[in-house]
């Protein structure tokens, strides 16, 4: 079973064949949400693209890369402890890190840490718990650490090249998430799908994530609007 098989399955009938659609729906929701708000409100904020637009764009991309894993994990539902811990740790860490990073870049360490940790912990617990208490614990720990680390990294990069760091972090996070998708595929090759659902989950979670990120980014107590 190689990575080539996984790539083939992206067009297949298993849940892996729905991963690209999940990315598509997530991106569509985020871009529509931001586009509408930009047209009616954000374009009147001086320097919006410089201060927020760049980070919101990458936040949309990052959430779109994270969410296919939600669909994949929910479809198989049961995992061994080893796999569940890896899922909880990876999704908790990366979700916490990117969420904390983008909020930290615009709102400082405290807001970034809290937001990143909450997002990381929630996703880490949700997906990690598919294997039981060990994945649950791994999700909490990784989400907490990822949130703090993401915010800290962005705040420390403020006086360096934060934009380049943003691109670098997005690329690395994407590679890690694709690796996780492949790992889940490899671990569940012999398993049957337990749950079949439409894309409403992905759309709702995407909307919630991008709406929360935008709201905190623009109206957080240390956002540049209020600085």
């Amino acid at each position: 079973m190689t990575f080539k098989h996984f790539i083939t399955e992206l067009n297949g009938n298993r849940v892996e064949g729905e991963l690209i659609k999940s990315i598509f729906y997530s991106l569509l929701v985020s871009f529509l949400f931001l586009g509408i708000l930009y047209f009616f409100k954000f374009r009147y904020i001086p320097g919006f693209i410089d201060k927020y637009g760049f980070y919101l764009f990458f936040a949309s991309l990052s959430y779109a890369v994270l969410l296919p894993t939600v669909r994949q994990v929910r479809a198989y539902n049961q995992f061994s402890c080893m796999s569940g811990m890896m899922i909880g740790m990876t999704i908790g860490m990366i979700a916490g890190f990117v969420a904390g990073f983008y909020i930290g870049a615009t709102n400082g360490m405290l807001m970034g840490s809290i937001f990143g940790s909450i997002i990381g912990i929630l996703l880490g617990i949700w997906l990690g718990s598919k294997c039981g208490i060990m994945g649950f614990m791994e999700g909490i720990m990784a989400g907490f650490m990822g949130g703090l680390m993401g915010a800290m990294t962005s705040v420390m990069m403020l006086n360096d090249n934060l934009r380049l760091a943003t691109i670098f972090i997005f690329v690395i996070s994407s590679i890690i998430m694709i690796g996780l998708n492949y790992m889940i595929y490899a671990e569940t090759k012999e398993s049957n799908r337990e749950k079949s659902e439409d894309y409403l989950n992905i759309i709702m979670i995407s909307f919630a994530l991008i709406a929360l990120t935008t709201w905190i980014m623009l109206f957080g107590y240390r956002s540049l609007i209020f600085a």
Binding site: L10, N11, G17, I20, K21, I23, F24, L27, L28, F31, G35, G47, I49, D50, G53, F54, F57, S60, L61, G108, M109, V155, M156, L158, N159, R163, L224, A227
Partner: protein
């Protein structure tokens, strides 16, 4: 809809939105944010308006910069230094809105610039732990 087509649409979508964001990004420099000029340590910058240098020495009090609010006059060179009570990462001094950042390793190091626009700006250490306000009037 086939996945290949979805990937194509996604690439176009990302390129369009990313291109829009990229084309509207500005290089963050002191000049294009506020029109301020940054002088060298001895103030020998040809863009620096003439006038008395407003020297500001910050120290540490209650875990933060002191004085916490500093007022300067517009159009006159400003020289900020940190005394020996300030340690660690607090010596990495930034005024992000003016695009200014410098590590003032010793009390004799200074951050020199000339504010050319009135306004209130936040100064901080590089990690945003120590903060204060610079009022240009």
């Amino acid at each position: 809809m086939k996945n290949g087509m979805l990937v194509g649409i996604m690439i176009v979508m990302v390129l369009l939105v990313g291109g829009f964001v990229y084309s509207n990004l500005n290089e963050i420099t002191p000049e294009n944010i506020t029109g301020n000029t940054v002088a060298t340590n001895n103030g020998a910058n040809s863009n620096t308006p003439s006038g008395n240098v407003q020297k500001i020495v910050l120290s540490m009090k209650n875990g933060n910069y002191y004085p916490n609010t500093v007022k300067v006059k517009v159009g006159q060179p400003v020289s900020i230094s940190l005394d020996s009570s300030i340690r660690g990462c607090y010596r990495s001094f930034t005024i992000r809105q003016l695009g200014l950042a410098k590590r003032l390793t010793t009390p004799s190091d200074t951050l020199d610039f000339t504010p050319t626009q009135k306004g209130t700006f936040r100064f901080a250490c590089s990690m945003g732990m120590g903060t204060g306000t610079l009022i240009v009037e």
